[in-house]
Symmetry: C2
Subunit: 205 residues, 2 copies
Amino acid sequence: MKDEKKRGRPRAFDAKATLAKARDVFWDRGFAAASLDNLSAATNLNRPSLYGAFGDKEDLYLDTLEGYRQDGMYALAQALDPSLPLRDNLARVYEGALAVYLHGETAARGCLLIGTATVEAVERERVREVLGRSLSDFDGEIEKRMRLAVERGELPESADPQMLARLASAVMHSLAVRARAGDSRETLEAIARSGVELICGSARS
Amino acid sequence: MKDEKKRGRPRAFDAKATLAKARDVFWDRGFAAASLDNLSAATNLNRPSLYGAFGDKEDLYLDTLEGYRQDGMYALAQALDPSLPLRDNLARVYEGALAVYLHGETAARGCLLIGTATVEAVERERVREVLGRSLSDFDGEIEKRMRLAVERGELPESADPQMLARLASAVMHSLAVRARAGDSRETLEAIARSGVELICGSARS
DNA sequence: CATATTTTGTACCGTTTCGCATTAAATTCT
DNA sequence: AGAATTTAATGCGAAACGGTACAAAATATG
């Protein structure tokens, strides 16, 4: 399913690598301020090639968002390894997020979705749909782990897995915004630690 | 200090009302996607008048952000009325926020700062500065109330007012993002309730 | 009333924007 | 080898962009 020789002239670029470069442009500038010329320069692709391969600017943007979402979900599942205590799971989630969020040149980039899709969500339905789905998928994955924690006794029976998951996500949303607002790594790590403590606090383990 | 008769032709518009209309445009479209024509149409002001009164687009945007920040700080101080229990204070903060965030035509607008300034913060230092200051001022105001709560015994001595305040803000940040992502009022209210419960949970009152 | 000063409205400028039309190049199929 | 097909590259073009020059209008001052 990989190397089906297609008929015409072969592509001189790797679609995945191109998407990654386009993603970085959107990440820094946002969707609206990223011009096709910016994207063309960053990907070393002419505008017509970009257009032919990915569609218009919004299509390309949605592609990068979808890839980012999938990468995030994979990293989340890794961090939530159920053989580790819930506390460690959450700490790993935040640690991994901060590693991504703080990687910026002039200023930290935060989260691609929260940092750049949120602003477009009001007027672009497709963006709003991806953003909404990304957030709720994220919640859902954490919720699964929370439910397991209740079953195992890591959390008391009275704990509400769905709500705890949403609050765990809330801390991440805040880290994403604050990173982009210029908060220091130390501050963000302190918030992450306190978040873990508060959410796992009811666990007497 | 109000009605100093200035020399030339008087202004035919109210600066504050104009800023409010411009703010609405930025709120829906974001800074980058809001054109001077959009702003001119919404404010019923010609572009040169806009420019003369508020400077360039970024200046105008920063003005609206600053006004929004001040309004928010005032509303926050009101909600944190120290004659009420901490629980009620937090609930009022979130209730007031949701009333603002859910007011949208097609989709909910969320928070002007988190929804539209975050994306510009990376490349526009002045926006990043206002956003950072807004977030930390907000944290600080809640922190004051948290410290009072510890003094009064609403929270245990072991509670960390600064961190609890930052986590209380985190819930707000999440509400802001989720509103714009299309979450329902019911969902957001449930998150707010759970947030209050979790943060005030250590209070045995 | 004349002058100075500020705001308003029209029109315009150079640039950038997105998207596409067209042609050249590279590969497979016959 | 030649036809068919897909991609690459150049360049165009109409529209939108932010910003400003300039003249007309409206007020205060002398």
